[in-house]
């Protein structure tokens, strides 16, 4: 699918800082969606720990070529670059966004810190940065989808209902279900893994708070700050998810509860475990769950 001429996206070159930031957040959101599952994969951390610098350079080179090819037909910017130079420039931007997001997540999950050797830091950033960069390049396909069409269809459907309360509860239920499905889609394959336990074991209360903040910030970024959904259309929506702040907070809670249920389902926590174990594991899993939940709401 080539980049589409979407009239609902006003970001044309020269729009200034706001448009540029929106495009970057859009790209980063796609990166988070595509990269988060591999971020919760221990084997990728291990590979990053021992891989040799020449191999890293090769991986960077191959990634550059693949993303350059992708950018000729896709890319995180809605405009098509006329020249090869434009596509190369977009490729540098894509990789930079991907690597930066991967580095931030590795810091938040304490996979790299000030004591980590430089070779290991670079290995982990490059290996985790590749799926993030691919996600940035795919961001428009991953997240723009048919969101606008679905919204319009639903708005038309809504006009058939006269009762305001019915619309409110219908919207609330739709968002609730979408968040739940999205959270399940991303976090269900992560919940049974040992990575959740490993990450929770090394997280102090302060880091757990940072993970909560990051979960809500990324979730907010995907749904509201990114340009692939129309902010005003989501604002017109009724229901308990009406304001961006309440939507982000409520969706996070849904993702947290969904994450806890998944952990219980996979026997990672039991009723005999103390409450803080549930909380720790739940917060660690709520990061991918909330990102999935945000993506799910885009599809509503």
């Amino acid at each position: 699918m080539r980049k589409q001429n979407n009239n609902s996206q006003p970001n044309i070159r020269g729009d200034g800082w706001r448009g540029e930031i929106e495009e970057i957040i859009s790209g980063a959101s796609g990166g988070f969606l595509f990269g988060i599952p591999l971020l919760y994969t221990m084997e990728v951390w291990f590979i990053g720990s021992y891989v040799q610098p020449p191999v890293l350079l090769c991986i960077l080179g191959v990634t550059f070529v693949i993303i350059l090819l992708l950018n000729r037909i896709e890319g995180f910017r809605p405009q098509e670059s006329e020249t090869l130079f434009g596509a190369i420039a977009e490729t540098f931007e894509t990789i930079a966004i991907g690597m930066t997001c991967a580095m931030l997540m590795l810091v938040i999950l304490q996979r790299i810190d000030v004591q980590t050797p430089l070779t290991e830091i670079l290995g982990k950033i490059v290996f985790e940065g590749v799926p993030f960069s691919l996600g940035v390049a795919f961001s428009r396909s991953l997240l723009s989808g048919d969101a606008e069409v679905s919204f319009k269809n639903r708005n038309q459907t809504e006009s058939r209902y006269s009762g305001k309360h019915k619309i409110i509860w219908q919207d609330t239920l739709a968002d609730f279900v979408a968040t739940l499905i999205g959270a399940l889609f991303i976090a269900f394959s992560i919940a049974p893994t040992d990575e959740v336990v490993v990450l929770a074991a090394s997280a102090s209360p302060l880091w757990l708070l940072i993970i909560i903040a990051a979960s809500m910030l990324i979730s907010y970024g995907i749904v509201f700050a990114a340009s692939f959904t129309n902010y005003s259309e989501r604002r017109q929506q009724q229901g308990l998810f009406q304001s961006p702040q309440s939507e982000t907070a409520l969706s996070y809670l849904i993702s947290l509860v969904a994450g806890l249920l998944m952990l219980w389902f996979f026997q990672k926590v039991s009723l005999n475990d103390p409450w803080f174990i549930w909380l720790r594991y739940g917060i660690v899993l709520s990061l991918p769950a909330s990102i999935g939940g945000a993506a799910g709401r885009l599809a509503v």
Binding site: G14, S49, Y50, Q79, E80, G86, M99, L118, E120, I125
Partner: protein, 134 residues
């Protein structure tokens, strides 16, 4: 349905030039650092050592002996195994074993061995028993 995306007919704006400059800086920094670690790194095998701290914690009649294992070699070691053996004066022996998934070059990891008897009243030997190359 394939649609052409709008062509970027104009030159990159100032804002986009700033984005590109920052992006180039980030990617260049990563490449430079990878090259730096390539040229300055040595390819010698791992050199593993372990030291124990002098301060031993005693909690509920258990003795916690902190240790630090480090890799001063050039390559990463996998499955690093650290063993501890405490021989008491009465001839009793207590052992402990710890395994670490990875130890990169210049990396240190900390841990503790736990004994039921006071290590100061016996002979404690802590050593790195084995590793493998990834």
């Amino acid at each position: 349905m394939k649609q052409q995306k709008p062509q970027n007919s104009s030159q990159r704006s100032f804002v986009e030039k700033v984005s590109l400059t920052i992006s180039l800086s980030i990617v260049s920094l990563i490449v430079v650092l990878v090259c730096y670690t390539w040229f300055t790194g040595d390819n010698n095998p791992p050199v593993l050592s372990v030291v124990t701290a002098t301060e031993i914690r005693e909690i509920e009649q258990q003795y916690y002996v902190p240790f630090t294992v480090s890799n001063s070699g050039g390559m990463t070691a996998e499955s690093v195994e650290v063993t501890a053996k405490l021989i008491l004066k009465n001839g009793d022996i207590e052992t402990g074993r710890q395994q670490m998934d990875f130890l990169s070059r210049q990396e240190q990891r900390n841990g503790e061995f736990i004994f039921g008897s006071n290590p100061k009243q016996g002979k404690l030997t802590v050593r790195v028993a084995s590793y493998r190359l990834p």
